[in-house]
Every structure is written in C-alpha cells, then in structure tokens.
C-alpha cells in the first residue's frame, strides 16, 4: 500500500506504463472474438480507477460506489430510450454531470462522518438509489430493466457495429483519457494532499490543509468518472438492469480493486482484467464455486497478501533482484 507517490516519486512515464495500451490494441487486432468481453473489462477498469482514487489514495471506505456507476448508466439509458437523445458524447456528459452532482451532494454529507457511520451512509445512499430505480418503473423499467437503448454514431461517423469494434475502441479511448487525468492528479500536489489525509488527517489539519474541501473535490471527481463508466456500460450493452446498483456491484468492484492491488494506479487495471476473465470462464459453469472462490480470495488477500496481485509481483521482483 505504501507505494511512493506524491512529491517523492518521479512522474515521468516509465516504458512499462505503455504496456497495457499496447496489449489493449493487440487484443483489438488479434482477438476479434473477445471484443465484447474486452469492452466490459475496460468499462470496469475505468470504474475501478474511480474507486481507487478515493479508496486507495484518499482512504475513504465506501460500500456504495455503484450508486454513481448506476446513475450514470441510467441517465444514459433514460436519455436514449425515453427522451431520444442518442448522441453518445452528450449522454456521456449528462451522465458525468448527474453522477458528479450526486457525488457533490452526498459527499458533502457523508464526508463529515467517520467509521461505521460513514460506511453506513455510503451504503444507505446506494440503497436509496436502488430503491428509486426499482420503484420508478415508468422511467427505469423497474426490475425488468431498461431496453430499447439506441446509440447514434460517435461524432456522426463511427457507428456501433455488431462485432463491438467501435464499442471497444470507444471504451479504450475513454479509459485512456481517464487514466491520463487520474495519473496527473495523483502525481500533483493535490494527489500528495490526498495521500497525506489518508495517512494522517489530524496532521493535515494541523498544517492547514483544507481536508474536507480536498476530500469533497476528489469524491465528486471520482463520482463523475464512475458515472462515465456507467454510461459506457449502457452504450456497449444497450441495456440497463437493476444489477448496476446496490451492494453487490459495489462489493464486486471492491473485490476487483483489492485483487489487483489498492492504492496503486495499475491495480485498477489488473484486478478487473483477472476478475472478469475468470468470471467469464468459471461463473457460468460453477456459480457456487465462483462465489466461494472470490470470498476465499478476499480473505486470503487480507490475511496474507495485502498488496494484491501487483503487491505479490513487486515482492517477487524485489526478491529476485536481491538475489541477483
């Protein structure tokens, strides 16, 4: 967890940081059958990045991050299916705006509290959203979900094709943009302030840092990114179901991030990739064992491997170098 970030770390791009993008492009050309899974992975990477920002860097524990993801998904879905706004960029902006607004409003309340109360409030906010989506059937389709979502070509040129190629590249472009902004943010003084608050908020108060303002800013921004990820999910699936909201998607997202490694930028890349691919293979054949497996994995990661996959690989690399 104590990865060097903030002022002490060099923010120059290392060559390894281009690897994920090279792999993503290679997948596009070499594995055309897996593009829909790929788009799903990319969407969740963006979602996990947003959670990593507030959980891993700012240290805010939330059980309700799916509220923003779900709101983004529903805003895009409702805009398209009920109001006839089919331009993907407009939908994206509207989703980001709505999720950001919810983040600002709930963050202003939630971030004033600590511990169990904070945990409970994030959970309650997500539960309220789920309840509204479930009961406002004329708008959201309720338990049946919202279908009939149509998406116009991006910028009027790039149509969403049935092979999912446009969708994949669209997701990739947005994840890249999100990654770039978040990376800049983490290495900025703002990012250093967040890490400081996570490590010792009393001292940050003492040095005169506006703790609450910083937390609220990052919470709102993270909500916007999660909203964008939700919009992406709707645009690539052309359907919104109740399962984008509530405790289970929030929990699964936590699992993905922990699996990859929390508080490190690329943990949010590795986690969803491993989790969703494993889910794609295992969950359909052995749903019971699958859930048991992710539970067991969480317990093991917490007890024995507190840095997730990236933490383990870091430790391995360090040991190899030490011997060489």
């Amino acid at each position: 967890m104590n990865h060097p970030v903030g002022y002490n770390a060099s923010d120059r791009l290392r060559w390894t940081e281009w690897l994920p993008w090279a792999v993503a492009l290679a997948v596009f050309f070499l594995l055309p059958d897996y593009l829909s899974l790929g788009a799903r992975v990319l969407t969740y990477i963006l979602f996990a990045l947003s959670l990593d920002l507030i959980l891993g860097y700012a240290g805010i524990i939330t059980l309700g991050h799916a509220a923003f993801f779900g709101l983004g998904a529903y805003v895009t879905g409702i805009l398209s299916a009920k109001l006839g706004v089919t331009d993907p960029l407009l939908q994206m902006l509207a989703s980001a705006f709505a999720a950001g607004l919810l983040g600002l409003a709930t963050g202003a309340l939630v971030l004033r509290t600590h511990g169990l109360t904070q945990l409970m409030l994030t959970l309650a906010v997500a539960a309220v959203c789920l309840e509204i989506a479930n009961k406002a059937t004329p708008l959201t389709g309720g338990a049946d979900g919202l279908s009939g979502v149509t998406i116009a070509p991006i910028l009027g040129y790039f149509k969403f094709d049935m092979y999912g190629r446009t969708a994949y590249l669209w997701c990739l472009a947005l994840v890249f943009a999100g990654w770039y902004v978040i990376r800049r943010l983490i290495y900025s003084p703002f990012g250093a302030a967040l890490t400081g608050i996570r490590e010792n908020s009393v001292r940050m108060h003492a040095v005169g840092a506006p703790v609450f303002g910083r937390l609220l800013a990052v919470y709102t921004f993270s909500a916007m990114v999660a909203g964008i990820a939700g919009a992406l999910l709707t645009q690539t699936n052309q359907f919104v179901g109740l399962n984008v909201l509530g405790f289970e998607p929030s929990g699964e997202l936590l699992v993905m991030l922990i699996l990859g490694g929390v508080g490190r930028l690329y943990g949010a890349f590795v986690g969803p990739l491993v989790f969703l691919i494993a889910q794609d293979y295992l969950a359909r054949q052995f749903p019971e064992y699958w859930y048991f497996g992710i539970g067991l994995m969480l317990v093991i990661v917490v007890l024995f491997a507190r840095g997730g996959i990236l933490g383990i690989s870091d430790a391995l690399v360090a040991r190899l170098r030490g011997k060489a």
Partner: protein, 291 residues
C-alpha cells in the same frame, strides 16, 4: 374508522415482532463492534446459519421446536468461537478497510455454501401445531407464532440485560467497552472476554435468525440483503449500547411494516432516508458515546 384502527393495531403488532427479531439479531453486532472495534459485516451470516439449522433440524431430523431453537443458538455460538480464534482475532488491530474486506469475503463464501447445500429457493419453516393458528385478545385475533415471538424475544432481552447490567461478566464487558487498556490493566482477561462475548452475540444472531425465519425469509442472499438493516440498527442505535439498538430496532420494525402496509410503492425508501437524516443529526447514533 374501525378498519383504520384494526390496521393500526395490526401494523404495530407486526412491527414490534419484526423489531424484536432485528434487535435479537443485531445486539451482538452492537456489542462486538463497540467492544472490539471490529467492523463485522458478516454478522448476517450467523443469523442465516441459525435459520438453516432450525429448518434442517425441524424438517430433516424431526426434532421438537424448542430443541431446534436451542441448537441454532449453540451450534452458531460454537462455530463462531472457532471462527473468532482462527480468523477474526488476527485482524483486531487491522485497519477498518481490511476488516470490511475480510468480512465481505466471509459473506461471499457463506452465500456460496448456502446455495450449494440448500439451493437458491427460500427454505420453508414448518411450525409445530401449538404455534400455529390465532390467539384471541381483546376481541382481536393475533397470529400465535408472532405472539410467542414477541414474548420469547422479550424474555431473552431481559436475560441479556440482566447479564450485562447485574453480573460480573457484564461489568467486565462494560469496563472493556469504556476503556479497554484500563480494563486490561486491572487484570481483566480481555482476550477471553472477547471470545465469550463474540460467541454470545453470534449465538443470539443465530437464535434471532431461527426465530425470525418466518418473517425474514431464509435464503442464500440473506447476509447481503439484510446487512443494511442490521447496520442501520447498530449505527442508529449507537455502538456498544444495549438500549440504543433496542429503540432503533423497534422504530425500524414499525416504520418498515407501516411503509410496506400503507405506501408499498415507496418500498424501503423512507427507512433509508430517515437513517441518513438521523445519522447526519447524530453521527454517533441515538445513544452512542460522543466522539
């Protein structure tokens, strides 16, 4: 008017029954969280286990109902001791995030196990004949089982309160909640105290799950779906208190029943909204210690 009055009585009655169940399940969570500072999101697992033990011993082994209830308390309490010694105790000093993740992991595992053993459907409870039927009081009919449930829970709560307020064990628990370091310093074995308290709390959850199997359906998703309610009871009531969660549980039981009866289209919306409002007004809960 008469119709309104009878629906009012009915809502109050069912609400109290539901609230009692919520309290019996959640009180252990309040005490263990207050005592050990451990964020145990997997508390609902114990309640679900209790429910399954009751259902299995009634329908498969044809045990008498009181014995099945006792078993649900004892088996869950015993199992929780093993869990506490093997796993929970390793994380007492850990960060809140690690405790949250660990207990979510336990939830996932138990949901999978329950589904593997019992399938995804709701497990039906076969009540004994003497608890079926109606119970007439003041010219109204009440379901006999709910009457039993309220009386039995009230008895359990009485025993629990006596235990905490009037016995040596209770005094030690209260001392450890108020100031753990001081309690240790005067020679209280807090480690053993934790284990025993954890077992009693978990056993009560198992008992509550078994008693309430008729009200809160026993199914594999139970720990996920009911978690919000248990956490609301504890956080609204206040950590480490016995009285706070009792009032919170009754409030929630009655409000929830009233909402489902009169405004079903809003679902649980009011409960969540009221919780958010209450926690903003009093972040430590109604009877929590001031931070």
């Amino acid at each position: 008017m008469e119709a309104f009055l009878s629906s009012l009585v009915s809502v109050a009655f069912h609400g109290v029954a539901y609230g009692m169940i919520l309290y019996v399940i959640s009180v252990g969570l309040s005490v263990t969280m207050g005592l050990m500072g451990f964020t145990n999101l997997a508390h609902g697992v114990f309640a679900m286990a209790g429910g399954y033990i009751l259902v299995t011993s009634l329908s498969r082994f044809n045990l008498p109902f009181p014995l099945a209830l006792a078993l649900s308390f004892l088996v869950v309490a015993a199992a929780s001791v093993i869990l506490e010694r093997l796993l929970y105790s390793r994380l007492y000093g850990a960060s809140e995030l690690e405790q949250v993740l660990f207990t979510i992991g336990l939830i996932f595992m138990s949901v999978a196990l329950a589904r593997l053993i019992y399938g995804t459907l709701q497990a039906p409870v076969v009540l004994p004949d003497y608890l079926k039927g109606q119970f007439a009081l003041l010219g109204r009919d009440f379901p006999a089982y709910r009457v039993f449930l309220i009386l039995f829970s009230a008895g359990m709560i009485g025993v629990l309160w006596f235990g905490v307020e009037r016995t040596l064990w209770g005094a030690m628990v209260r001392a450890a909640v108020d100031n753990r370091a001081m309690a240790q310093a005067i020679g209280i074995n807090t480690k053993r105290l934790f284990t025993i308290t954890f077992a009693v709390g978990s056993g009560l959850a198992g008992l509550g799950g078994a008693l309430g199997a008729d009200i809160i359906a026993i199914q594999p998703t139970y720990p996920f779906e009911q978690l919000v309610y248990f956490l609301i009871v504890v956080s609204v009531g206040g950590l480490g208190s016995l009285r706070g969660p009792f009032i919170a549980a009754l409030l929630i039981g009655i409000t929830d029943t009233a909402c489902k009866y009169w405004v079903p289209q809003f679902g649980a919306f009011f409960i969540y909204a009221a919780t958010i409002g209450l926690l903003l007004w009093r972040p430590m809960g109604l009877f929590g210690k001031r931070a």
